[in-house]
Amino acid sequence: MNFKIAAVALAAAFTVSAQAQTEIQWWHSMTAVNGEWVNDLAKEFNASQKEYKVIPTYKGSYAESMTAAVAAFRAGNAPNILQVFEVGTATMMASKGAIVPVGQVMKDAGYKFDPTVYVSAVAGYYTAPNGQMLSFPFNSSTTIFYFNKDAFKAAGIDTNKPPTTWPEVALAAAKLKASGHKCPLTIAWQSWTQLESFSAWHNVEFASKSNGLGGMDARLKVDSPLHVRHIENLANMAKQGLFIYKGRENVPEATFISGECAMITTSAGFYGNVAKNAKFNYALATLPYYPDVPGAPQNTVIGGASLWVMAGKKPVEYKGVADFFNFISRPEVQSASHKRTGYLPITTAAYQLTEKSGFYKEKPGTDIAVQQMIRKVTDKSRGIRLGNYVQIRQIEDEELEQVWSGKKSAKEALQAIVKRGNEQLERFEKANK
């Protein structure tokens, strides 16, 4: 009798614990190939242990997913992990009580957290002034330069010496135009490549207070002489038909793939697309800079998204989140992710592992993005973290378009950006008191 009862009790205990697998909800915005990557990461983690089950759910674009998370949070059922684009970082940070810093989560789970294993330009962006890591870098990219080798050859430009400075770019563009090329240079993500990354690359301020990392009372500084000079140069190039504006965000990328435009500044993540679809010889290079600016080139800033941990969930779930983050930080996992997607490796160990595997030799140019980021950052180049940044990007697009169409001068546009942008920053500061 006792044996029977004990057996039943034991069986019941096993059943209960088997069903007590804690679910971790992960909301993301990765589609197509990257969506598969997310699902595979979750699958691998789930297979590696029995206590937790990570469930990734596609929740629309970055903006839609954020809306969903906000609504869910207000209704009391937020996910455990939320992928948020870099532009929304300030919003997440400022909502005290909505999130739990990653550093805290790892510490509470008993993991020793060593900030030095992370590539400083990547992790530094998601770190608070007091050194605590707020969110977990997940898919990070940066700004680089692509050019069409065939078009260069036809224009008589030496493809072994790609243009590295803006004067050289202008020269190459002129040669391309002379050889009949209709679109020598174009630009994608103009605010990111030509204002934000531009500033960090030249070690000048984009905004005060270390570009916002130091506090919510940061204000824009893009009407500086260097910025005006650069936008004026681009405006002149536009007038001469050397730079053709092809749209906002990543829309211009299609013109590079089709061969229409010969040079483009855009995200490192564009590489996969180029490798698959370009029907010409191409090469990757570092973002151009002005050689007469002291300190250039410094490093470029991050794009992409990170993973935030939402507040208000059960303690056992936080342990699962920590385990998951630990899993995907492993050098092998990082390196595989980096090779698969083109996003940057987050830890130096992952970078070294990838290098050792010969990947960079096999696919030349894939290490340029990393090269631009693996440097010691300065206060002006750590990254940009400003509130209401989505609106500010929109303002930047609107004003720059007026420059390209000849309606405003570079100085007027940049000053308008500063004025309108600062209004947004003030409002953000007020809303997040």
Partner: protein
């Protein structure tokens, strides 16, 4: 506006109307009230720190030059969409009504685009008009027109008007066609026998008898132009170049969804809603009088 014959029953009408009133109370008025309350507040995205600021969100709007410009942009846009949408579909319906051969084919082809999801429609238009990739812009280039809606404000406006009207043509066409086919043939024949030409017949018989349909479509198209065209702008011009296509509703959604500025978005919704309600009241007061039921 009142029927001559009406029933008298004490309880029945309340019962009949109850389901709808219940649903809209719970799922419209309650959430709408909360959404509108946000127009008087400034809060962070997650609603953790909320401050009551009274009319500040509204004052900010009036002091914002770009908001005031977008009134003008919206007015032009809505007028074009409503006029073109109704005018073109009316014309198509008139001829579809006349034509006998191939009528089924024409009607089907004109109706099917209604089934296209807005998300897909936006993508299709960008496909066709992209200055680099688009077949239409390519064709226009061959004709000597340098199509560039990225830098040319008028081109951009033309693009979104076309996309918006396209979506509505099928809808309007159907209603007009039905309206035309409901007019008794005997009336038309009698007029023809009296010597009235096609054009005259249209103005004296068909158009007046179409008035209930036209009125319905006028209201619906106006509401559509003001509220449902966000997706089109979002898929094509994003309000650019500069602010050439920044219509009021675009800013509402942009602020509410992408920028997470719920207070600002709510304030703009209030303004937009007030405009539309005012326009609708005007339509009911003045235009419905001319409608023949």
């Amino acid at each position: 506006m009142e029927k001559r014959v009406q029933f008298r029953a004490p309880l029945l009408p309340w019962l009949l109307i109850a389901p709808q009133v219940l649903v809209i109370s719970v799922f419209f008025f309650w959430p709408a009230a909360q959404a509108l309350l946000q127009s008087f507040q400034i809060e962070d995205a997650f609603g953790i720190s909320t401050q009551w600021v009274g009319m500040e969100n509204f004052n900010r709007l009036w002091n914002d030059a770009s908001y005031l410009t977008s009134f003008k942009t919206t007015a032009i846009f809505s007028l074009l969409v409503a006029v073109l949408g109704i005018g073109l579909s009316l014309m198509l319906a008139i001829f579809a009504d006349r034509v006998i051969k191939g009528a089924m084919f024409y009607k089907t082809m004109l109706i099917v685009p209604y089934a296209v999801a807005p998300a897909v429609a936006g993508v299709l238009w960008i496909f066709m008009f992209s200055p680099s990739l688009g077949v239409v812009s390519y064709g226009l280039g061959k004709l000597g027109i340098d199509w560039n809606h990225l830098l040319n404000g008028s081109h951009a406006m033309t693009l979104i008007v076309m996309a918006a009207v396209w979506k509505q043509i099928s809808y309007n066409f159907l209603f007009f066609l039905a309206g035309l086919q409901s007019i008794p043939k005997s009336l038309i024949e009698a007029a023809a026998i009296d010597g009235a030409k096609a054009w005259r017949r249209f103005w004296t018989i068909q158009f007046p008898l179409l008035s209930p349909t036209t009125f319905f479509l006028l209201v619906i198209n106006m509401i559509y132009a003001f509220f449902d065209t966000f997706a089109i702008v979002d898929a094509t011009t994003h309000g650019g170049p500069g602010q050439a296509t920044s219509i009021l509703v675009y800013k509402v959604y942009y602020d509410g969804f992408k920028a997470m500025d719920l207070g600002g978005s709510a304030a703009q919704s209030v303004v937009l809603m007030t405009i539309v309600i005012a326009l609708t009241v005007v339509q009911f007061q003045f235009i419905e009088k001319k409608v023949n039921y």
